[in-house]
């Protein structure tokens, strides 16, 4: 029998179509990039990235950034500030979202309705408005920096900056940090050993207690060996200068609170849907073996619901990271503000926007990479 010609081979057709698709996309990018470049050259505008090493000429709030430092350093400060929003925001929005999602399914009418009102209000308001509201109606209503409030002498609170107790490190703190990292490693090893012990003997493992105990013991010994290099530090107010303590700008807290509340309303809906997606038989089985309400959630429902919820929650994490760009409206110096500031101060817009896109891409891909690793570990075997 004669074989059909190769161009009718389905595998050849598929491969060819993919090559064409890639060529079209790459061609489009090349065309647009060239077009941009030609227009810039025609207008006598720079097309290179040498501006990155030029001086910025501005100060940045709440950092020791020097106006003589180059543009790339300013961009790094912006990335750091965006990172501080993301790294603090994601745990908070996850916890708040889970609590509200569970509350929506509560048999207590008041709790369920309150959670419903929270979700339906916040997720239907644009995040920019929530940020403006929190900034203007909450943060700016705090006392001005010329007359801050100092509750308990532990905090210095003004609408410019909120400072609370923190840690102060002296020499030897680096050694303690190394010891702490070693302690984490030791705790993990002990945890694995206790798990194996439990699996072979059938005795209860108490692995959390064991791991914590090992960690605390090592860190405590290290703390005294290195000569107590870390101590509590309380903010101290001298005129307008705050020394010691740990804090952030009012605008930072405004963005953080607003976006955590907004994103948590979306996470709550995902959590609620995922809990409802766990087969009802699981709840009935948990009831049948006389688990309490908390135990049912902790050991039966949430572990299964979490597996369903994780992929859509990644999207909310990504949205959170991208929505931090709205902080420009209230003057928090995250990466978008720093980029637009540089554009306004005469540095080329196309290149800076490209770098800005790269920065958000980096944030999004890192989040999605980390959560996907977690997701793969949680997948059921055989899936």
């Amino acid at each position: 029998m004669k074989r059909p010609p190769f161009w009718r081979n389905i595998r050849v057709i598929r491969a060819a179509l993919q090559i064409v698709a890639v060529a079209v996309v790459v061609g489009a990018f090349l065309y647009l990039g060239n077009n941009l470049r030609n227009e810039l050259v025609a207008k006598g505008l720079p097309t290179d990235f040498s501006f990155l090493s030029q001086p910025t000429g501005v100060n940045i709030a709440d950092s020791d950034f020097d106006p003589a430092s180059p543009v790339w350093r300013a961009l790094l400060v912006g990335i750091k500030n965006t990172f501080l929003l993301v790294i603090v925001g994601i745990p908070f929005l996850t916890i708040l979202g889970t609590l509200i999602g569970v509350a929506r399914l509560s048999t207590n009418w008041l709790v369920a309705k309150a959670a419903m009102v929270y979700v339906e209000t916040l997720r239907n308001i644009p995040p920019l408005l929530i940020i403006l509201f929190v900034f203007n109606a909450v943060i700016l209503q705090l006392p001005p920096p010329r007359d801050p409030s100092t509750p308990l002498d532990w905090f210095v609170i003004s609408n410019l900056k909120i400072t609370g107790p923190g840690f102060a490190a002296s020499s030897g703190a680096g050694a303690l940090l190394a010891i702490a990292l070693f302690a984490v490693l030791a705790a993990v090893i002990v945890g694995i050993w206790r798990t194996k012990y439990s699996e072979t003997t059938g005795h209860h493992s108490h692995r959390v207690l064991w791991s914590l105990g090992v960690f605390v013991a090592i860190v405590l010994v290290g703390y005294f060996l290195t000569g107590r290099p870390v101590s509590m530090s309380f903010p101290d107010l001298d005129g307008r200068v705050i020394t010691g303590g740990f804090g952030g700008l009012g605008s930072y807290f405004a963005v953080l609170i607003a976006l955590v509340m907004y994103t948590a309303s979306h996470v709550a809906e995902i959590v609620r849907g995922s809990i409802q997606a766990v087969p009802k038989g699981q709840t009935e089985a948990a009831n049948a073996i006389a688990l309490s309400g908390f135990q049912r959630l902790r050991y039966v429902i949430l572990p299964q619901a979490f597996r369903i919820a994780l992929p859509p929650i990644i999207n909310q994490y990504l949205n959170f990271a991208k929505n931090t760009s709205l902080a420009i409206a209230i003057g928090f110096t995250e990466i978008t503000l720093i980029t637009f500031q540089a554009i306004g101060n005469g540095y080329p817009a196309p290149q800076l926007i490209l770098l800005l896109m790269g920065a958000y891409l980096l944030f999004s891909l890192t989040i999605s990479l980390l959560v996907n690793i977690l997701n793969r570990r949680l997948q059921l075997v055989g899936n």
Partner: protein, 376 residues
Amino acid sequence: MQEETPLKRLAILLLALGLVLAACDSGSDDTTTTAAAAGGDETTTTAAAAAGGSMLQTVQDRGTLNCGVNDAVPGFGYTDADGNFSGFDVDYCRAVAAAVLGDANAVTFRPLTAQQRFTALQSGEIDVLIRNTTFTSSRDGREGATFLTTTFYDGQGMMVYAEDGITSIDDMANLSVCVLSGTTTELNLAARFGDTPYTPLTFDANDQLQAAFVAGQCDGWTSDKSQLAGVRSNFPESEGGPEALVILDETFSKEPLGPVVTDGDTQWAQVVNWVVLATITAEEWDLTSANVASYDGDDAGIRRFLGLEIQTDEGATTFDPGLGLPTDFATQVISQVGNYGEIFDRNVGPDTALGLSRGVNALWTDGGLLYSPPYR
């Protein structure tokens, strides 16, 4: 088999990004060849249009002028509740339209933020930018912009609350200062404070900045003094009104503000430039919107300027300096908008809420900086 890991996705996206960067970054020699190959005709024609044809013809064909303005600085560029634009800069947009199109109202105003303005000019979204924009060397060089005759000589100042008792910027160590982001004022602020610690709070719009200032988040508000005067005059009575605020005497920068056009179009630059110069020339000759239409004197200079008939040995003629403008453009500008003094007094002068005096913005004959080359 077709598992798409994030790592793979990362690799693909970085590759794509890299391609764009490579396209932007490739040497200028091979650009022309690749453009011919990949870009085709369109690229070359748009470039030719930008370089060859004048904006003057484009504007006259279109019938309206696209003018980039401010919409949040009282006295200079401001929109009222009905969406009407008014202000010193806005009047200069109208003057250009009166000269080029014969109609001061044939203007489409494009309100722009400080950060958007040069991109809007570069991309051709606006024909001329008249938005309290400071003339600096790096803007002239890096933004592809041509700065024309300064319409307002300004300087940067600092506004504080009267009750704080601040008398000099040297008293402001460790205090916080609100400033608009992406402006020359931001750079001057950093230079003025030098090694003195302070907290700059940068906003991208004046209304949110004002909210922060009212709440006491910042102790000082720095900007061009004329803008500060506008803000002070409009300061809400509920917050103490204008008397609650003091603008410090110190002026710590030069801020020459004027119209800006894009590089590479000399004819259009000359046109906009001579519209500004015409308003100054008119004030030198005491020509106002009230008397310009009825001028029937025989001063040859004024008759040349207004495009009136001049008797020569070979009969009557009108003077055309060859700028590409109608010979009576100055008459149109002055009758429809006014001379420099009228524009100043109407928007920012002593009888307005801003109450600015002419200061250095007076004619050179009065000891100011306004000086127009002769129109002949």
